[in-house]
């Protein structure tokens, strides 16, 4: 493979040599170098990098406007070694912002470029379907461009579809809306579905019903204190600390801040409690989708979540919106009396194996459940990589990709745990992965608890010395990701030398995962569509941001 030196690190000089004239200039981002290329060379460059140099994962596409130009950045990395990162920067003129689309090389670029077009206004030439994705079709202007006036009135339509029962098309298909208000869509998702009898011919997820301008919010707030409460509200299935970590990691690397070891343990423990909480919600709502009512499994999952939420509340002071991380550490130490708190966690951990067994008895070993899940909603590893799928969905397709191990952060590399993968590529495998991850998270928490119990009292440093105002150097750019509950949650920040980020881009795992829905559901039955959607475990707050 070109560009990898013998000791396994990336050799950017060789990559540059391979690309030859395509590289106009080299930029240094904080996470990895980036090559600047011409707007009409996107396809060629990315194809070379993908086929010859093994960059098979397009993590994210960031678009932004400068005073003098527009820019798209393609953040590339490898599924097998995520620490091999490379940015491809595509500047384009202010008068006519355009560049070639990457969607023929990476399928995931389809949605990412639609979002970039929608919010920033860059025209992707050669894109198969360049229309707005988050905002309604009738929206005027591109809100993250510099000259956008948000006080302008807007008109949003509520167009009625024809009654499909009165009017059938010649080919006997029927159009049906699922959502945006529907119990099976896990929030406000709208699926435009075409059916042939009971079979799904085409499904087009229509998102943006919860687009709360998270990126605009973060761009108007300071690094030090103000941004941290917002990540809790991206993936709000009580996965708050995992999201906070994504921001903390990016901002700490950008501002060159250290985190004390003790704080890393607190972070790791809190984050894994959040992962358990988020996976319990996935289990409960998936049971809701499969069994169709508020049955025992949903109630059990809620009961178990209550226990975890109560632990997290003791730790952070809130049940869901924790705001517990600070840059350089956490806000406070364990609650006193420490032993009481730690034994509360211990009681919970002791009950986890029996709890997992209970879920297995009720679900995975249930014949009806298996009929609904095994060999349904197939997502092959190749297709998954094309769509930039990460998290339990990717691991259920046998892709061994977990940033906690592969791009280490926090205290994970000092602990003993495994990455759970399954090879079934179906709904059932994704579910097994989630149950397995609950067990692994419990294992991680157990080790953290032991460490905390024996940690010397005079060495409990919860936060390093962090300046009151944080101003990263102007034009510093970084893309950093963590393994959140749903997969790779990445943050791109560009600094302009002030206390606020000039561009704050969120790479949401749910966004990429949801784009595979049509691959999984088309050709199957309607109930399988619902099961497949449930198995993706999307949270609309994170899809739409």
């Amino acid at each position: 493979m070109i560009g990898v030196s013998k000791n396994g690190t990336l050799d950017y000089a060789k990559l540059e040599k391979m690309l030859g004239d395509l590289v106009l200039q080299k930029e240094d981002h904080v996470n990895a170098p980036a090559f600047v290329i011409r707007p009409d060379a996107v396809e060629e460059t990315l194809t070379l990098l993908k086929d010859e140099a093994g960059f098979d994962h397009l993590s994210c596409v960031t678009a932004q406007e400068y005073e003098d130009r527009f820019e798209s950045i393609y953040h590339l990395r490898k599924y097998d070694s995520p620490q091999h990162e490379l940015g491809i920067v595509v500047p384009s003129p202010k008068s006519n912002p355009w560049n070639q689309s990457a969607s023929s090389v990476f399928r995931t670029a389809d949605w990412h470029e639609r979002e970039a077009y929608d919010l920033v206004g860059i025209n992707y030439v050669g894109h198969p379907d360049l229309r707005r994705i988050l905002l309604p079709d009738t929206w005027q202007g591109h809100p993250l461009s510099l000259d956008y006036d948000q006080n302008k009135p807007q008109i949003i339509t509520l167009q009625e579809h024809e009654n499909p029962l009165q009017h059938t098309l010649d080919d006997n298909t029927m159009f049906i809306n699922i959502g945006p208000h529907h119990p099976a869509t896990h929030g406000v998702l709208h699926l435009k579905t075409v059916l042939d009898g009971e079979h799904v011919v085409a499904v087009d997820p229509d998102i943006g019903y919860l687009h709360r301008c998270e990126e605009q919010m973060a761009q108007g707030l300071n690094y030090r204190y103000q941004i941290m409460p917002y990540p809790d509200r991206w993936d709000y299935a009580s996965a708050g600390l995992l999201n906070e970590w994504a921001y903390a990691r990016a901002a700490e690397d950008l501002g060159n801040l250290e985190v004390p070891e003790y704080a890393e343990i607190l972070r790791t423990m809190g984050a894994e409690l959040c992962r358990i909480c988020a996976h319990f919600l996935a289990v409960g709502t998936f049971a809701l989708d499969i069994y169709g009512d508020f049955t025992a499994i949903f109630m059990y999952a809620m009961r178990d979540r209550e226990i975890v939420q109560s632990i997290l509340e003791d730790l952070t002071g809130q049940r869901m919106m924790f705001n517990y991380f600070r840059l350089g550490g956490v806000v406070w130490d364990l609650p006193e009396p420490r032993n009481e708190f730690l034994s509360k966690i211990q009681t919970f951990l002791d009950a986890v194996p029996a709890g997992i067994q209970e879920y297995s008895d009720l679900m995975t070993s249930n014949e009806i459940f298996q009929l609904r899940c095994v060999d349904i909603g197939i997502l092959s590893p190749d297709v998954a990589r094309q769509y930039g799928v990460t998290g339990p969905v990717a691991r259920g397709s046998g892709i061994d990709y977990d940033l906690r191990r592969d791009d280490p952060y926090g205290y994970y590399s000092n602990l003993d745990w495994d990455v759970v993968t399954e090879d079934g590529c179906d709904i059932y495998s994704r579910f097994l992965v989630r149950l397995g991850e609950v067990e692994q998270s419990a294992k991680i928490i157990q080790q953290c608890v032991s460490l905390l119990e024996s940690w010397p009292e005079d060495d409990r440093i919860i936060q390093s010395n962090v300046p009151r105002t944080i101003k990263p150097p102007a034009d510093a750019e970084i893309y950093r990701a963590v393994e959140a509950a749903k997969g790779e949650l990445g943050i791109y920040i560009r600094s302009d030398g002030t206390q606020q980020p000039a561009r704050f881009k969120i790479r949401s795992p749910c966004f990429s995962n949801l784009s595979t829905l049509s691959e999984m559901a088309e050709g199957g039955l309607v109930p399988d569509l619902i099961a497949a959607l449930g198995s993706l475990d999307i949270v609309l707050g994170e899809v739409d941001r």
Partner: protein, 209 residues
């Protein structure tokens, strides 16, 4: 006629020999309405997670006679609005509200439904549910704890049982036909995209609080 002794409560003893009670029809209906609310199963954002916890074990909203979520708006009489409302969703929410039969009640859950909450500066965020629907009870919090939501719903039940109705004090965005809108530069720009009979919602962001 003898009554099954299991049905005899202390209340019945208190009534004595007469099995009849005397009340006004309206108060009786108000009592019935307040004591068996059917909720719309309706999630928007973060608050819907806490709303699920309110329905589920531990908090068990059904103890108060208000805990049966219905998936169809036509079977529901209480809509809890649990989350941030954005421009694309508001017309759909309005439609769901219109589909609920009268009498109907709305509880706004969380700061977003009061003012847009932490997102009130967003270009796409409706500044509170009252810009779209009349609201009976606001429950503040981000998100409110399940106990707070239970309190809000119980307060609503008290109001319903005592026959109080909230006046609509807002001038909400309405669904209008595109052809009926006042002329504006924006309307001309959109004229070839939207037909005259299509329903639209026009957001005048600069007038928002």
């Amino acid at each position: 006629m003898t009554v099954d002794p299991r049905l005899n409560s202390r209340l019945r003893e208190a009534f004595g020999s007469s099995p009849f009670i005397l009340t006004k029809f309206d108060s009786f209906m108000d009592w019935v309405r307040g004591s068996s609310l059917f909720l719309l199963q309706f999630g928007i954002a973060c608050c819907s997670i806490e709303m699920m916890h309110t329905f589920a074990v531990k908090h068990d909203l059904d103890r108060f006679g208000a805990g049966v979520p219905r998936a169809s708006p036509r079977q529901a009489d209480l809509m809890i609005v649990p989350g941030t409302i954005v421009s694309k969703f508001a017309p759909r929410m309005r439609r769901v509200y219109d589909q609920m039969p009268e009498p109907k009640f709305v509880v706004g859950m969380g700061s977003c439904t009061i003012s847009g909450g932490p997102f009130h500066k967003g270009y796409n965020v409706v500044k509170g549910v009252e810009e779209i629907l009349p609201v009976d009870i606001h429950v503040p919090g981000c998100p409110p704890r399940p106990e707070a939501l239970v309190y809000g719903i119980v307060k609503l039940q008290e109001r319903i049982i005592s026959g109080q109705r909230s006046p609509v004090t807002v001038d909400p965005y309405e669904l209008e036909k595109f052809g009926d809108l006042d002329t504006h530069e924006l309307i001309e720009q959109l004229a070839d995209q939207i037909s005259e009979n299509d329903l639209v919602m026009r957001y005048n962001w600069s007038d928002s609080p």
